[in-house]
């Protein structure tokens, strides 16, 4: 079981993510973030709980809604926000943007914007870990909507057949873009109810409780490392903002929103911290540190330069260039 001090660290990570997402939202509305953003406020416990259960050299693959995973794996708010704000100092040099946050050096192998596409990649990373005998696991995080696309099926079957150390973690926030997952899915639990089709464990966890997430991922990752194969974890959660950009999410019933906002990951963690005897001051100090980090990050990102246009024609190939002909 987690100690108060350990949990306080996780809490602070979640607080940083929450504030980074709020900053991204505000920056988008003020025109400083172009394109689109898919904010993960509300999903913090999944990223932070899972990361806490993983090794530093494990592999994570995420979606366009992936800020929380990048941050939980060690990307700084500054490099994330700089990326969103099209700065040369961004995580991907402003070539990726909000949907493609990647920090390979921290095992965050990318955010992919084609629903479901990264599940087979995670299978491949797990295969690679097994071939190299490293004991690493790979984790693919994906939304409820991804459970109905073909790549999901192919990835789970292959992972099961090859008994690979890969975890499939579904962040079930009840909605795809503007349509409820329940309206377009043949089973009640879009992920967990599919696990038997691949002969693998399928579990459901409260994705807003960072401790429960950590425990579940820890257990399934140990199992995977021990050679017992993949597992599917469905983490229930809810997004605080709309799907993307300025979506007001009017399609969600008010009672539902209210109910979920009362089941907030940060609140839950605070309750647990209290139970573990962590003082309100200590929690408040963590909150303040988080606020300060994100504020500084916003300032630094704002001050950073735009990328050199010449960068557009680099890094297609491993030699750093983009020449397709002589």
């Amino acid at each position: 079981m987690v100690t108060g001090d350990e949990l306080l660290l996780l809490y602070e990570q979640m607080a940083v993510i929450r504030r980074t997402e709020k900053a991204a939202h505000d920056l988008f509305l003020s025109g400083l973030v172009k394109g689109t953003t898919h904010l993960a406020a509300g999903h913090e416990a999944i990223a932070v709980g899972a990361s806490a259960a993983l090794r530093a050299d494990d592999y994570v693959f995420a979606t366009y809604r992936g800020h929380h995973h990048a941050l939980a794996r060690g990307a700084t708010p500054e490099e994330c926000l700089a990326e969103l704000m099209s700065r040369a100092t961004g995580l991907c040099g402003a070539k990726g943007g909000s949907m493609h946050l990647t920090k390979a050096s921290a095992g965050m192998l990318g955010s992919y914007a084609i629903v479901g596409a990264h599940l087979p990649m995670a299978v491949g990373a797990a295969w690679s870990a097994r071939l190299r005998g490293t004991g690493q696991v790979a984790v693919a995080f994906f939304g409820d909507g991804a459970t109905n696309i073909g790549a999901f099926h192919e990835a789970l079957n292959l992972a099961a057949v090859w008994k690979l150390p890969v975890l499939f973690v579904c962040e079930n926030n009840l909605y795809m873009e503007y349509t409820a997952i329940a309206d377009v899915t043949a089973v009640a639990r879009p992920a967990a109810d599919r696990a038997p089709a691949y002969g693998i464990p399928g579990e459901v966890v409260d994705g807003n409780d960072v401790v429960l997430v950590q425990e579940a991922v820890d257990r399934l990752a140990r199992r995977a490392r021990a050679g017992d194969g993949p597992a599917l974890l469905e983490a229930s959660t809810y997004r605080h903002y709309g799907h993307s950009r300025a979506d007001p999410a009017a399609y969600r019933p008010a009672e539902e929103v209210e109910r979920w906002l009362k089941h907030d990951p940060l609140d839950l963690a605070r309750g647990r911290l209290d139970g573990l005897g962590v003082s309100a001051e200590a929690i408040g100090a963590a909150d303040e540190r988080a606020t300060a980090v994100v504020q500084k990050a916003v300032e630094a990102a704002k001050a950073a330069p735009a990328p050199d246009p010449a960068e557009a024609l680099t890094d297609v190939w491993a030699d750093g260039g983009a020449a397709w002909r002589n």
Binding site: G35, T36, S86, G97, A113, T179, E311, A312, W324
Partner: protein, 337 residues
């Protein structure tokens, strides 16, 4: 353009957006023909993520406007099966990049089944999709993928540049007994133009000369049409009189209009958003270099997307997608040849 629109509006001519024209074009056909049904992700009550199906669910109800799971293969595959059995489905693939997720249907099934059954079946469907870049959506949501479809015999390919053409070409596409991939340009959704007259039908495969000129022919498609027109306006100030052809469709390809223009101008520049390597303009150039060789007084140049993925930042994206400046540079070089 902006001023022109303002003037027209001042004189009371109603303008509609390209986005509205999509929904209008579909609605007109749904009113006309009960066999027309729509399917796609979030196209129902939500009206589509680009609001290009706004109002359809309200007018036609859930029996004709169907929300789907995120299952691009099932969407297009089901549209195919329905088209083979008496319906005229209009399937939406949200971003044209996602055509890759159901490419088997576009490349191997839909365009081939009529041929390989010796003409036993037809597939009267439309796959609509939001195409193109310039909006900072990054590498996987910004591509101009009309060149993918262009590699596959058996697909008709429409890519209108104005609201009226959207309506008129949507009519032709939905009425077509052949499969049509209908590229709606994301960068044009907010643009405005005169509404389509009642019963407006624009035949597929007919290019439009949208600006007459004597010195050089600019051939463009979709969002590159306003770019070419803007370049032509600015070149006029330099004394270069460019003719601009809006190709409107890639298949059928209106070679005649291009060659006729070339007969007048003797010089050709193609303006295309898709990458230079494998872009549709290359095929047009190859036809011209064969059949129109004698007409050419100068090299032919393609102003196309750079051969890189689409980057996120504005500063980078502008370096990749053709701009008015790039077109002007190309034209100046050729007219000086």
């Amino acid at each position: 353009m902006a001023e022109l629109t303002a003037t027209q509006e001042a004189f009371g001519q109603r303008q509609i957006t390209y986005r509205e024209a999509v929904a209008e074009g579909i609605a007109r056909e749904m009113r006309r023909d009960p066999a027309v049904v729509c399917l796609g992700e979030d196209i129902g009550a939500a009206g589509g993520v680009f609001k290009t199906t706004a109002g359809l669910f309200e007018e036609f109800g859930p029996g004709r406007v169907w929300d789907t799971p995120i299952s691009e293969q099932a969407i297009v595959g089901a549209a195919m099966g329905a088209a083979m059995t008496g319906m005229r489905p209009v399937a939406e693939i949200m971003f044209s990049d996602f055509l890759a997720c159901c490419w088997d249907y576009l490349a191997n099934e839909i365009p081939k089944v009529r041929y390989m059954t010796g003409g036993q079946v037809t597939v009267p469907l439309v796959v609509r999709t939001a195409n193109g870049g310039g909006l900072g959506f990054g590498a996987q949501h910004s591509q101009a993928t009309e060149n993918w479809a262009f590699t596959v015999p058996g697909l008709k390919i429409a890519a209108p540049s104005t609201p009226a053409d959207v309506v008129g070409m949507m009519a032709s596409a939905i009425r077509s007994d052949d499969p049509v991939v209908f590229f709606e340009h994301k960068g044009l959704f907010a643009s405005k133009g005169p509404p389509a007259p009642p019963d407006h039908v624009v035949e597929l495969g007919k290019a439009a000369v949208v600006r007459e000129g004597a010195d050089i022919t600019l051939v463009a498609l979709a969002s590159m049409v306003p770019v070419a027109l803007a370049a032509a306006e600015r070149l006029a100030a330099e004394g270069i009189d460019a003719e601009v052809v809006d190709l409107r469709c890639l298949i059928p390809l209106d070679v005649s209009t291009v060659l006729a223009s070339l007969a007048k101008t003797s010089r050709l520049t193609i303006v295309e958003e898709n990458p230079y390597q494998g872009g549709w303009g290359a095929t047009l150039v190859s036809v011209v270099a064969d059949e129109g060789f004698g007409l050419l007084d100068a090299p032919v140049r393609r102003v196309a997307g750079e051969c890189v993925p689409l980057p996120f930042a504005d500063a980078l994206e502008e370096r990749v997608i053709p701009t008015v400046d790039k077109v002007m540079t190309a034209v100046r070089t050729l007219t000086a040849y």
